[in-house]
Structure formats: structure tokens, C-alpha cells
Symmetry: C2
């Protein structure tokens, strides 16, 4: 496998885009990424499209081919990939694999989702396809319910963290406020989180990510294509993909030996650390999958950023803030930036690249190495990517 | 890219499986393929799952992870891929790529679909997601209507072939009759085809593939894993994947410069021929995407098996029969074997492997090289695979 670089990234704002289709959003993100990468579109060799609920909420599949046609890409392999909320990360990993394996020299990963036009019940029904419907669907649980139960399991092991959990929300909302791509940044207090409407006890409205439209894209190339741009210290410098790992975990609740940890995250992260020699202490920031506030706590522990049981404490102490010990979700994360499902994993890559270029509106000082983490279902699919400044 | 071999294949019968879920069917096919390949399941390094309408017709996504869990596969990358009716072929091509690129040593591609429980209108609505819904969906056409129009375009270029087109159906139905996996084999006459109910003028019921459930799987490995089994002339001998190409074409009707040809097929086939030096005259048989009788005619011309305008004539003259000049769809094809959409491309691989092993119930004499062709939407996605007996 050869070294792979991110030559360019693009993204729409995450939020509501009533006038744009799923494909329109994807094309916008691709146009941005192609411009950023300074490549001609006719040299692109593969397109991977991350999407989860397009068929059900928009009646449109064949998204990869449609988007390639609309974006003027050549007659290349165009593939939609799906792994629930990890679909975007899976698209990134496959575009990386295409270049790393020399299957092609330049590949694009795009993720796009369109959800805000649908009713909440339609969205809930569509998202429930990420459960094992025979085993967990029959319970009547939706995802907020599942993560509410996970909170209760966590509480039984580590004690009441409800108040400190609100600090996770406060942090991410504040980060989102200064991220121009974010849907729901806000300056709110712990009290306001705890006064927001109950969704699935003990998770309240602000503990849950919003329903979002949006798209993000990444252009991946070999070193040859970017070598002239490395060391220039410009605002569009390339970023090295040090590792891109995809794992699978347990698809149903009762299959987990410990609901306070996702084995797919633990395994993916361990493979990244083992294969690169880079460990959690070497990371300058992490963009992780905080679909709910409690998920950020679990993820931060699974990734090894924080000792078990201390995720919420670290957030409450400011240790995961932009200028803390280990900045987590400086973008605002899913909670504040939004969660257009198939786009989320690529939105994380976009944010990480801006950090490593020194461009971010919530810039982490001297950021050289960042990690992104995208999770699907009840932990059935996970991708973890490790990115480094090309001149680091 | 290293050489890749098919070490094992598995398949359910195509048809109605009311007692089995989409995942059950996939697991059955994988179990068969693993047994056939004589591998341990813990050495599998990647799973690709071809599926198109599982989310809409069964409410279940995350099919790759769920199936891997159910089949006892390890913590490997598990990815659902989608390209409408070409989803199975895309799964095969990605499993091939995983092994060819040394990303892993053993990969499984499985395709599964479950459709027969749904109403015809639900199935039609789900399949329509393979159209560009903004441009073609608004016309009110369904796929039989689109291919009826394609027939009319073909007729305007090449003359009335209605009667000879029925010979395509008669051939495939007859082949299906002796294929134990086929859903709708039959011994019927040209007159019976033409007396069957009208679906979309001039296409009648027997011109259209049925609605099917089913799954098929393939185990792909490097040469190291099969070398001891080559030259043994046994009924489970490995098969070489000489080429596996994926292309994209035009996603909407008005975008085609010629509706009597799919550019994605022409391009994919040409790349296979150019990269291997093997041409259409070297093929011993072809399994191609005959979702409608007229599609077999177009495909056979696009692949270069038959001169333009002569596809139906060749069928009527018996030249595409099992013992004809170029056997087309000795399995019965989609028209008779069935079309569980996401499984179809892998069902074609299954059939081709049985031919190359000399096991097929409709055996082509001395078959050494076979080609499979899987098409999605109105030609938006295509895969073409070239397979050869490992001892040829």
C-alpha cells in the first residue's frame, strides 16, 4: 500500500437545504473539493458515495452514478457504500484504499444526506434500519431510547454523570457557534441543557444531534500529485492519511458484553495505534461520533483519550475543550455541527483537514496529528482515520 | 494487482423464500461458499454485500455487518454496496479488488434480496429508485415502460423483431427449466410468449423477469490458497478471475445518445477485452443482464457477441442456445432464473463457475472462458467479469 494524501476537501453547510437535492448537495461538495485539490475532473479514477437513508427519505438510489454524471466525472467506477451512520467514513476508507492499492491515482469520497424535509416519524423509521430489526426493532426502541438505556448502564458502573454530561453539550454547542458550517451552535448553560425537553430519559433534546441535510467530499491522491505543494505552509496544503481502518462490531443490543463500550471502536483504534506506532497521547485533536452526549463519553474512553468512567468529568473540567488536554470535537461534533448521516464521516475529515492546515475557526494550537471516528448503528460499523500534516 | 481466484461459490434457489429473511438467505449462500472453498471462516478478511431495496422492502440496512455477525465472520470491514441492479456485480468487483490489491488474502462477496413478500406496487416503487427520479421518475414510467420504449427505438432502427424476440424468452425459459436454482423455467412456445398478458407494449409478461428472493456468494482468494487444487479436474476446482471491471453510464433516458446501446456496457466490455487480449470470439458462454427480453438483445450487441441489429435473429436461429455459436444465459438468465436484484450479479458468477468446473446442468461443451455482465438502472452502472478455468 502506498502513501495517500488528501489533496482537497469540500463541504456544504450542515443544516436545512430545502432547495437542494441529495445529489445537488453532493455535487456542491465535490466541486469545492476538486477546486481545493486543483485537479481536473477528468483525472478522477473512482467515486465512493456514503449515504444511508436516501432511498427511503428521497426515493433516490444510484446516487454515486447520478452524482458523477452531474459533476462531470468520467466513466469511472461509482459506488454507493452503506454502513448506517458510518457510511461516510466507509466511503473515505474505500477512496483511500483505491489510491493506496494503486487501483487508481485519484479518488473522491463524498457523503450526502437529505433528511430535514421528512417528518420526525419518517426520519425515525428510516434511522431504525440501522438496528437489527428482528431483535431490537421489535422492542419499540428508537436510537434515543437505546442511548438512554446505555446512559443507565454507564451510570450503574460509574455513577451519576448527568450534570457533567451536560458539559459535553455545552462544549460542543459553543464550538459549533464559531464553526460557519455548523447547524446548531449555541452559547448555552448546563442548566439550559437540563431544562430542555426530555426525549428518552435521561437524555434531553440538547443531548441529541439534530436532523440535518448536508454533504462533504474529499479528494485523495498519491504523493506524486501533492509533493509540489508540501512544505509551502499555505492554507490549502495536503494532509497525509496515516491510517484508515474499518471494523465491524455487534449489531444488536443483547450481543454486547458491555454496553458502555463499542468493540468496533476499540478494535479499529487499536489497529490504528498498532500499525502506526502513534498512540492516543500523540493526538492533537479528535473528531468523534457524538450522536448523543453519552456517546461522546463512551467514544472518548473507547479511543483511549480518557480513562474509563472519566469521559464526562474531563468534559466538565474543560480538558476536552479546544485548548484543553485533548480537544474533542472542536467542530462542534454531531451535536452542534449536525448529522446528515451519510455525510458525517466526511464532514469529520473536512474539519480535521482544516485543523491540520491551521485554518480552523476553532483552531487547535500547533495541530499536527488528528483522528476521526465514525460509528454506525449500535456499534455494528466503525471507521477510524489518522491524519497528519504533510510537512509534520 | 495480483491474480485472484474464485475458491468457492454458494447460492440459494432463486424464487420465493417466505420463511427466510434477507440476512438468512445471505448466510445460507455464504455457508455454501465457505464449505465449497474449504476455508475456515476466521481467515476471511473482508465482506462486501450487494443489495438494492432491502431498506425499503424489509426495513433493514446494516446488512453487511448483520450478516457477518450471523455467519460468524471476524471483526473485518463489512460493506454494503449499491448500484441498483448491478449491486451484486459491484460487490464481486470489490471483493476481487480487496484480494488483488493485497488488502486482504480472502474476501467474500454476497448478494441478497427479498422482494416476493411485498406488493407489486411496493416493488415497483422501490425499483424506481434506480431511475433519475427528477428527470425520469416524473414521467410516470416504470422499468417495463422504459424498456418498452427502448424496444420501439430499436424497432425504428432495425425493424420489427417482436416474433424473434420471443425466441429469447423461449430459450431462457427452457434453460431455466433444467437449472435447479431457477424460479421460472418453462417449456413454452413463441405463441405462448405472445399470448401472455401485455405489461408495457410491446413487452408482455414473459418478456419481463419475475420478482424474486435469493442470495449468492463467492469466496475470492489469491493463488496461494488454491494452487494445490488446480489441475485436479474435480467438481470444485478454482476459477481464475481474469478481469473485473466496473463502469458508470448515463443515469437518465434523455441523456443517452442511442437508446439501443448502453455506454456503460460497451465501455466495460472494451476495457476487459483491451486489458486481457481476450475478445468476444474467445468466449465460450456469457451470462448477461436480461431483465427484459429486449435487454438481452441490446446487451448481446453491446458486448460484441452479435452484430448490431441481429441479437434477436441469432436467438431465433438457435445461435445463442446452450449448444449454439455463443451460448447466452445457459442458466436461464434473469428471465427464467429470476432477479433477486442485489444477488443477480453474484448468481451469474455462481453459474459461470459451475460451467467452468464442468458441473452445470446446462453444460456448455469444453467451457474454458466465460463472461458475466450485470447492469443497473437505465445503464448507470455496469460490471463485467471475465472468468477462466484455472487449469485452462
Amino acid at each position: 500500500m502506498r502513501q495517500v494524501y488528501i489533496a482537497g476537501v469540500g463541504s456544504t453547510r450542515f443544516g436545512r437545504h430545502p432547495a437542494s437535492s441529495l445529489v445537488d448537495l453532493a455535487v456542491d461538495a465535490i466541486e469545492d473539493a476538486i477546486k481545493d485539490a486543483r485537479i481536473d475532473r477528468d483525472v478522477v479514477g473512482a467515486l465512493y458515495f456514503g449515504n444511508f437513508v436516501g432511498g427511503q427519505l428521497t426515493g433516490q438510489e444510484i446516487l454515486a452514478g447520478l452524482t458523477a454524471d452531474e459533476a462531470g466525472l468520467p466513466c469511472i467506477p461509482c459506488t454507493k457504500v452503506e454502513g448506517a451512520c458510518a457510511s461516510g467514513g466507509i466511503a473515505f476508507r474505500h477512496a483511500w484504499l483505491a489510491v493506496a492499492s494503486r487501483s487508481c491515482d485519484i479518488a473522491i469520497a463524498v457523503g450526502s444526506e437529505k433528511m430535514s424535509h421528512a417528518s420526525t416519524s419518517q426520519v425515525t423509521e428510516a434511522l431504525n434500519c440501522a438496528m437489527d430489526i428482528e431483535r431490537d426493532g421489535a422492542s419499540g426502541l428508537s436510537f434515543p431510547g437505546i442511548f438512554g438505556l446505555i446512559y443507565r448502564m454507564y451510570e450503574s458502573s460509574y455513577g451519576d454523570i448527568r450534570r457533567k454530561l451536560s458539559s459535553v453539550v455545552v462544549k460542543n454547542k459553543r464550538n459549533g457557534l464559531t464553526n460557519p458550517l455548523a447547524q446548531m451552535g449555541a452559547s448555552i448553560s448546563v442548566e439550559e441543557v437540563e431544562d430542555s425537553p426530555m426525549v428518552a430519559d435521561p437524555l434531553r433534546l440538547f443531548d441529541c444531534c439534530p436532523i440535518s441535510d448536508g454533504a462533504a467530499a474529499t479528494v485523495l491522491t498519491s504523493r506524486d500529485h501533492v509533493v509540489g505543494r508540501i512544505h509551502r505552509g499555505t492554507k490549502d496544503s495536503p494532509v497525509e492519511v496515516v491510517a484508515a481502518v474499518q471494523t465491524r462490531g455487534v449489531p444488536f443490543i443483547a450481543g454486547h458484553s458491555d454496553m458502555c463500550s463499542f468493540s468496533a471502536t476499540v478494535e479499529a483504534t487499536q489497529r490504528v495505534y498498532d500499525s502506526t506506532g502513534i498512540g492516543p497521547k500523540d493526538l492533537d485533536f479528535v473528531e468523534l461520533h457524538d450522536c448523543f452526549s453519552i456517546t461522546e463519553v463512551l467514544d472518548s474512553e473507547d479511543i483511549g483519550l480518557v480513562p474509563r468512567g472519566e469521559g464526562a468529568h474531563w468534559a466538565a473540567e474543560g480538558r476536552t475543550a479546544v485548548h484543553g488536554d485533548i480537544p474533542i470535537n472542536p467542530s462542534g461534533g454531531l451535536l452542534a455541527k449536525g448529522h446528515p448521516v451519510g455525510a458525517t464521516g466526511l464532514g469529520q475529515i473536512y474539519e480535521a483537514v482544516q485543523q491540520l492546515r491551521g485554518n480552523h475557526s476553532n483552531q487547535v494550537k500547533d495541530a499536527e496529528i488528528g483522528l476521526t471516528h465514525n460509528l454506525g448503528g449500535t456499534g455494528v460499523a466503525c471507521t477510524v482515520s489518522l491524519l497528519r500534516r504533510a510537512d509534520a
